[in-house]
């Protein structure tokens, strides 16, 4: 499969495109340093396309979907729909939400009807239309049921029926299957694909956000891979397989492997990978939201597999979602205990030593590695310089907030959990202070 890296807006395609994003950025926070959710996003969606936005959590894919739907404003760049700039809620788009977003106090029928009512459709026309939609998604007989009486899969069917009620040109799906059990999710995917491929719904294009690689390869015509810090598009990959696609096919597996490699990313230069301390010039690299004992588990597993394993297979064997897996992998990378190559995870010599070591040696090794991280060494040295070797949590948060905004507390929490694990420093909950472990 050829990789096409899109740097700039695809200009000639604009005219034919339903949706065009040009250099779209979104940041939060006030003056001073800001937190960047997404940066320089350029993307086009053409009629007849099913596009997947794929990436780890925190890469801004959901933010991007909300920008397309007009629920969030952009900080920079332009969003064109049918060639016209978007202002406010996108009247041609609708969203199917991860948590269904049904009104629990309304029946199935009322939930669907409310979308029509908001458009000013009179009751006489509304009732039959809603009933027909409920029928289409296979929920006839459940019109008068309340959402809480339904299973997750059935609730999401109501979500789809409601979305189709407004006959959207662009259907936005925000991880619509991730809150469902495996079987319901698979069934619902199949039903959606049937409606979409048979053109039984007036929808012209679908934009789906997911962190499930197989799901993306199963459904999409094109996968847009995103990365975080800041949220950006790293690559786009077309999926030219014919429907219905089968997971066991070698072609399917090959694409999954490729996407995996793209998501896990290429190794970065060390300085860039580690980032800088708060206050220094440059970007703070946020610590991955991983627990270090999970990393220990992963390294042991890897060692037992001979020090090298396919990431995709590893996640399947550990029954870990991509979103849970990637932070652990990243932790291994920045600590220098593992590296990613071509979709495989490799144990470094240090990682091998770690896996073989006793608990005590592991702690020492980890402490040494962790101190290479600017965030950890900054906290450690700040505490060392203090007379009591105790510093209020608020001091660190104050330094972090200008650059990380609302993520500062989460970042410090991760740093503390790492510091504790490596027995470098700990946190006193009674006084809200960090202190040096003796």
């Amino acid at each position: 499969m050829p990789e096409t890296i899109v740097e700039k807006a695809p200009t000639p395609a604009d005219a034919a495109s339903l949706l065009v994003l040009r250099d779209v950025g979104k940041d939060y926070g006030t003056a001073g340093k800001k937190f960047v959710a997404v940066e320089k996003i350029s993307l086009a969606v053409r009629p007849g396309e099913f596009v997947c936005l794929l990436g780890p959590s925190g890469c801004g894919k959901s933010t991007l979907l909300r920008i397309v739907a007009g629920l969030q404003a952009t900080s920079s760049g332009t969003v064109l729909y049918r060639g016209r700039p978007l202002d406010g809620v996108n009247p041609y788009a609708t969203i199917v939400f991860q948590t269904f977003a049904l009104y629990p106090w309304l029946t199935v029928q009322e939930n669907v009807e409310v979308a029509l009512k908001a458009k000013g459709v009179p009751p006489g026309e509304r009732h039959p239309r809603a009933l027909k939609l409920i029928d289409t998604v296979g929920l006839d007989g459940f019109e008068s049921a309340y959402p809480r009486e339904l299973s997750g899969g059935m609730r999401q069917k109501v979500g789809f029926a409601r979305a189709m009620a407004v006959e959207p040109e662009l259907l936005c799906l925000d991880e619509p299957f991730s809150a469902l059990d495996v079987l319901s999710a698979e069934a619902l995917r199949g039903e959606l694909m049937e409606l979409w491929l048979n053109r039984s719904i007036p929808t012209k294009a679908i934009l789906m956000v997911t962190h499930n690689i197989e799901e993306a390869v199963l459904m999409a015509d094109r996968i847009v891979v995103m990365a975080k810090d800041p949220g950006r598009i790293v690559t786009e990959m077309p999926v030219a397989l014919r429907h219905p696609r089968r997971r066991k096919d070698t072609a399917f597996q090959a694409i999954v492997d490729q996407v995996y490699a793209a998501v896990a990313g290429k190794p970065r230069a060390e300085a860039e990978a580690l980032g800088v301390r708060p206050g220094q010039v440059g970007r703070i690299r946020r610590l991955p939201a991983a627990r270090l004992n999970a990393l220990a588990g992963l390294l042991e597993k890897l060692a037992s597999e001979g020090g090298r394993q396919d990431l995709y297979r590893l996640s399947a064997e550990l029954v870990m979602e991509l979103d849970d897996m990637l932070p652990v992998v990243e932790a291994g990378e920045i600590l220098g205990l593992a590296t990613v190559q071509e979709g495989d995870l490799l144990l470094t010599p240090l990682g091998q030593a770690y896996a073989d070591a006793s608990i005590l040696t592991r702690k020492e090794l980890l402490a040494g590695r962790a101190l290479r991280l600017p965030m950890i060494s900054w906290i450690y040295e700040t505490l060392q310089q203090d007379d009591d070797q105790r510093v209020a949590e608020e001091y660190f948060l104050d330094k972090l907030r200008p650059e990380l905004a609302h993520l500062a507390e989460k970042e410090l929490d991760i740093a503390i959990s790492w510091g504790r694990h490596a027995e470098l420093f700990a946190f006193d909950d009674d006084t809200d202070e960090l202190y040096l472990e003796k």
Partner: protein, 573 residues
């Protein structure tokens, strides 16, 4: 077992802010204006003739319930409008929420004398007394309901809100299908609390009288007071019986059905937990007539309303997007005028207070100390008995099944209604009024604590209890390591509400007219009553303000600190 447990929403801001100063100044200005108006209050106010005949009881019950209903309806409207405005508009929220925070910790009953005097200066006295009673109940009911509405409106789950936006629900439809339903459950619980609390204030208003000014109102409260005054035990029993009957009937025919109905507004998607039940609700929902009215009248009416408002709002939304948004000029002008009026009123109040002799301030200080002592004693006794009893009920299903209904009925009788009966029994003793005042505070506050302790005890996870059993801890260690820490947040929540109630009680309890005589004990409540009687408006203003500032300060320092400790240290997750 989830009953009457709510946590007052304390914002994160610490202690006093400049905003609080402005609000207190505003209160001072308001009190001053009331005091000025009260200068023209008639010196003698004749109260109503209360008949002790049994046939009069239903009429009195109706009058009392009517006052409650009017006040509650007003509270409901107030809470929806205020809560919605504060939640939707950021600027409004920044002004309205701190205001609410101060108002909810002010001892409401302390306003009663000023309100009564000033209203009776401009209105016929029976109208003034009715209005004062309704204002009093309203101010006792509205705050927690408003907080509940505000909290609901600001915590609507993001995706539900986004769904409303993406499907382009107009503001009315959004309010009707999303915000109001989401706020309903909290509003119903808080309404029940407010309603129960309202009786306390209604009874206090119905029996309020100082010296030659008799502000009583015909109703159950006055009936009980006259009955106790005359030592007519039969009438006392009949009055209490009627009161309990009214409260139980309202619970069965109004609140339980409403609670059962409101269960549909639960957000949880799982069926779980036994829903609240109500035989009356079941009866109604099965009734043919209710269904018909719903189909023929209610639904078409709603449809029409939605349609009308949809057209109106859609047109307005288009017009709106043209113009710049921001506070309109009239709002800014009104705000400035209000601020100026506050400053002027505050200055006048300060002038009036400066004229007060040092001795009067000394009296007020001593009075505050005496009342504080009573509040502390009442709270201590309440804690002493409610903790063991509450834990016993909360940890034993059998005991709960037996005692819960009994406790609920007893707790529903407002302490102020029983106060005259207490006086009948205690006034003969030495220091009887002092004892009666403490007992009134105790009776008015212990239930909040008891219900919170029960809720806390039943929330202790079974695993922790088993672990404690396995560790074979001695019973003291068991209390120290498990029960007391687990109860702590609940105790603090209960005690905050309870101490507020106790301060309120001082206004009616420290000086009473009984058996044709005036009895008084030392306390800030007595000072306020005496000032009301003597027409000493400077003393009245000073006493009321001192009480308000004291209570608000205690809330802002002591209780807030405990609340924070409870939240940070003893929260179960």
């Amino acid at each position: 077992m989830k009953i009457f447990h709510f946590s007052p929403a304390l914002p994160r801001t610490p202690a006093f802010t400049a905003g609080d100063g402005v609000i207190l100044l505003g209160l001072a200005a308001l009190l001053y204006a009331g005091g000025r108006l009260a200068l023209h209050a008639p010196a003698v106010v004749r109260g109503p003739e209360i008949s002790l005949a049994l046939p009069a009881l239903p009429w009195y019950a109706l009058l009392s319930t009517g006052r409650m209903a009017v006040a509650y309806a007003l509270s409901l409207i107030f809470s929806l409008v205020y809560g919605y405005a504060a939640a939707r508009n950021r600027t409004a929220g920044r002004v309205l929420m701190p205001l609410l925070d101060v108002l909810q910790s002010v001892p409401i009953l302390s306003f009663l004398p000023v309100v009564l005097l000033s209203l009776s200066a401009v209105l016929p006295q029976n109208v003034a007394a009715e209005l004062a009673a309704i204002i009093l109940i309203l101010t006792s009911q509205a705050w927690n309901m408003t907080f509940s509405v505000y909290q609901s409106m600001t915590t609507v789950p993001g995706e539900l809100r986004e769904a409303a936006a993406i499907f382009r629900l107009d503001p009315w439809l959004r309010f009707r299908t999303l915000e109001l339903p989401f706020a309903t459950l909290g509003l119903v619980w808080n309404s029940m609390m407010s309603w129960a609390g309202g009786w306390f204030f209604l009874m206090a208003a119905e029996i309020f009288s100082v010296g030659a000014r008799d502000f009583r109102l015909p109703g159950l409260g006055a009936y009980l007071q006259v009955a106790a005054n005359r030592g007519d035990l039969r009438a006392v029993l009949a009055g209490v019986g009627t009161l309990v009957l009214v409260i139980v009937l309202l619970d069965q025919l109004a609140w339980r059905p409403i609670l059962a109905w409101a269960d549909r507004f639960k957000l949880e998607m799982t069926a779980g937990e036994a829903p609240p039940e109500s035989w009356f609700h079941d009866l109604l929902s099965r009734a043919w007539i209710v269904e018909r009215v719903g189909e023929r009248l209610w639904e078409p009416f709603n449809e029409r309303l939605d349609h009308r408002l949809h057209e109106r709002l859609a047109a307005r939304a288009e017009a709106r997007s043209e113009e710049r948004r921001g506070p309109s000029r009239s709002v800014v002008v009104a705000a400035i005028l209000l601020l100026l009026a506050t400053l002027y009123g505050g200055w006048c109040a300060a002038q009036a207070l400066r004229g007060l002799p040092a001795a009067a301030w000394g009296r007020i200080g001593l009075g505050l100390l005496a009342t504080f002592g009573r509040v502390a004693v009442a709270l201590t006794f309440a804690l002493l008995w409610t903790i063991p009893v509450g834990v016993a009920i909360g940890t034993s299903r059998r005991l709960a099944a037996i005692l819960q209904p009994v406790v609920q009925v007893i707790a529903s009788v407002p302490a102020t209604a029983l106060f005259p009966i207490l006086l009948l029994a205690l006034l003969r003793l030495r220091g009887g009024l002092n004892l009666a005042a403490i007992l009134l505070m105790l009776m008015g506050t212990q239930w909040y604590l008891l219900f919170n302790v029960i809720a806390g005890a039943s929330a202790i996870p079974q695993d922790l209890r088993y672990t404690t059993d396995l560790l074979r801890l001695s019973s003291w260690d068991r209390w120290r390591t498990l029960i007391l820490p687990a109860l702590f947040p609940y105790l603090v929540t209960g005690a905050i509400t309870a101490s507020g109630g106790a301060w309120n009680a001082s206004i009616v309890a420290e000086q009473v007219e009984f058996g044709g005589q005036t009895h008084a004990t030392r306390g800030v409540g007595a000072i306020i009553a005496q000032a009301t009687n003597a027409g000493d408006y400077h003393l009245l203003l000073a006493g009321t303000l001192a009480l308000i500032v004291t209570v608000v300060s205690i809330n802002r320092t002591f209780w807030r600190w405990l609340y924070r400790v409870a939240r940070d240290r003893y929260r179960m997750e």
